[in-house]
């Protein structure tokens, strides 16, 4: 549910983390502290089992349920991936199309931005009615719509943020429209697109899991979380939540890694603030 338009300044978190292993140490320390608190501090403070079971208990549940957890995770991940591909693909295609027709694109922008403010998740019961409770398509569509608007807005911004002199330069070379597109507009918009893709990766996973609330296949992760809670098996619920979270992080990290490869030229000191 986040739409951050400007590409992240590369000097901040991402580049450093990739380059210097030593920079990981503070994060690892915090991780260790967090785990320790989970295992010992919270129970000692009287945090009840149904709120947050001991970490070791959750790990146990994780281990015993690992097969069903991973198949559920994979099932839901496929829904998220499908929604991501559909939503981002559609958004990029549409943004490219509207990039050519400036007026229409400019008129659509406020609408797309407003549409992004709509709680899409409220729409899940309707997609269930469309595709049936058990069909993965109902969740895929939710994930796709969640991904669509941030990617559309950002891609369009990126495509139209090209310096006018760059276009004049290309015209002075009598370059074709295709050349201008591939050699100028695409590279210029890549940072914007990747920022949105990272946001979309998290949204897709959330959409897929949360979409299960209104009903879904028992193979899905969200349903497993639900049923574990209802059976008061909180350790299993938390194990499933962890799986969902880990998958979201992995998806995000994968996109971030792709971004580092594609944007290897992006200077570490430069952000793209307006």
């Amino acid at each position: 549910m986040t739409t951050i338009v400007e590409p992240v300044p590369r000097g901040a978190f991402t580049r450093r983390v990739g380059r210097h292993v030593g920079d990981w140490i503070p994060a690892l320390v915090v991780f260790g502290l967090g785990l320790a608190s989970w295992q010992w501090l919270f129970p000692w403070l009287g945090v009840e089992r149904f709120l947050l079971p001991r970490f070791s208990d959750v790990l146990d549940a994780f281990w015993t349920q690992r097969d069903s957890l991973w198949s559920a995770g994979w099932f839901t991940f496929k829904e998220a991936l499908g929604g991501f591909a559909l939503g981002c693909g559609g958004a990029i295609a549409l943004a490219v199309a509207f990039g050519r027709f400036r007026r229409v694109g400019a008129a659509l922008m406020p609408l797309a931005i407003a549409a992004n403010a709509i709680p899409i998740l409220a729409f899940a019961p309707i997609t269930n009615a469309w595709f049936g409770l058990l069909s993965p398509w109902s969740k895929i569509v939710i994930a796709a719509v969640l991904c669509f608007f941030p990617v559309f807005v950002n891609t369009l911004r990126g495509l139209t943020s090209v310096q006018p002199e760059s276009i004049e330069l290309m015209r002075s070379y009598a370059a074709s429209e295709v050349d201008v597109f591939t050699r100028v507009r695409v590279p210029t918009s890549l940072p914007f697109v990747f920022t949105a893709l990272k946001v979309a990766s998290v949204l897709a996973m959330i959409g897929a899991v949360v979409g299960d609330f209104f009903g879904g296949s028992t193979e899905a992760l969200g349903i497993q979380i639900e049923s574990s809670v209802q059976l008061s098996r909180y350790e299993e619920a938390w194990a499933a939540i962890l799986v969902a979270s880990i998958l979201g992080i992995v998806f995000y990290a994968a996109i971030a890694a792709a971004e580092r490869r594609a944007l290897s030229w992006h200077p570490s000191t430069r952000g793209a603030s307006e």
């Binding site: 310096q163 002199e165 760059s166 004049e168 330069l169 015209r171 002075s172 070379y173 009598a174 370059a175 050349d179 050699r183 100028v184 590279p187 890549l190 030229w265 992006h266 200077p267 000191t269 430069r270």
Partner: protein, 274 residues
């Protein structure tokens, strides 16, 4: 109209209807091969517009422009000129070498030819060894040199320059002035140079075209008969001062001709200040 002219401008007028501005009015001038012509004048005199009309980046409302014995449009399609802007307009995602190679790629040159020409060009602008650098790793002056190398990569007959050194400090400017003259002598191209600086215009050019604004007209043309090649000593030549004064008088004349004094003589003030 001089049949030998590289650029022939006849009765060119350019009005921007929506803004109700006459940027150029009845401009006629011929530029001979091998000349170095500066366009100078206060803001709004149309010098950058005229440059772009020559480059077929803006269409004149009336009048004809002939470049290299073709229409301006055909000349652009035939890639008869190279253009350098005040902002270097280098592509961040390309190395110096690939930036210079851009027009060559558009022309479909093969890899080997491109590499050879890039090597020649970097040597010409004295940036050998920086081929693998990215634009942000270079100083402003170096970036402009890359921009000039790119403009000259296809060895055009005509070089159009829109205040290329405007954003640089005085010392870099003077150095680049000398380099530009060296390159000009070496290649024998014709140069049209837009500038705000009287001394720069006189130092570099064989002729200085002084323009007045609202509407943009040619106020006068000063023949610069200083000896070639120009050097640092040229600045101390008494004739240099005479010519600078002549240009300055022409510009002052514009100011006194404007009754209500709304004309900004920024460049005169700038000259005064330095």
């Amino acid at each position: 109209m001089n049949a030998d002219a590289v650029v022939s401008i006849q009765g060119v007028t350019k009005t921007f209807a929506k803004a109700n501005v006459t940027a150029l009015e009845n401009i006629s001038v011929d530029l001979l091969p091998g000349e170095f012509v500066s366009l100078i004048g206060p803001s709004g005199c149309g010098k950058s517009t005229l440059l772009r009309v020559i480059g077929d980046l803006i269409e004149p409302t009336t009048g004809t422009v002939t470049v290299n014995r073709k229409s301006a449009h055909e000349a652009r399609l035939a890639r008869d000129y190279g253009i350098v802007f005040q902002d270097s307009v280098l592509f961040d995602w390309r190395t110096v070498a690939k930036n210079i190679a851009l027009p060559l790629e558009l022309l479909g040159w093969d890899r080997r030819r491109r590499a050879e020409r890039v090597k020649e060009m970097t040597a010409l602008v004295e940036l050998s060894g920086f081929e693998s650098h990215h634009p942000w790793q270079l100083s402003g002056g170096m970036q402009q040199r890359v921009s000039i190398a790119r403009a000259l990569a296809i060895e055009p007959a005509l070089l159009l320059m829109d205040e290329p050194f405007g954003a640089l400090d005085e010392m870099t400017r003077e150095r680049l002035n000398l380099e530009l003259l060296r390159i000009w002598h070496q290649l024998g191209s014709t140069v049209v140079f837009v500038t705000h600086s009287i001394s720069e215009a006189v130092f570099l050019s064989t002729r200085v075209v002084v323009m007045s604004p609202r509407p943009g007209r040619i106020r006068g043309i000063v023949d610069v008969d200083l000896p070639q090649p120009r050097t640092v000593q040229t600045h101390e030549n008494p004739r240099f001062f005479e010519l600078v004064t002549a240009v300055r008088e022409l510009l002052r004349g514009i100011e006194s001709a404007e009754e209500d004094g709304t004309l900004e003589s920024e460049l005169l003030a700038a000259e005064e200040a330095t």
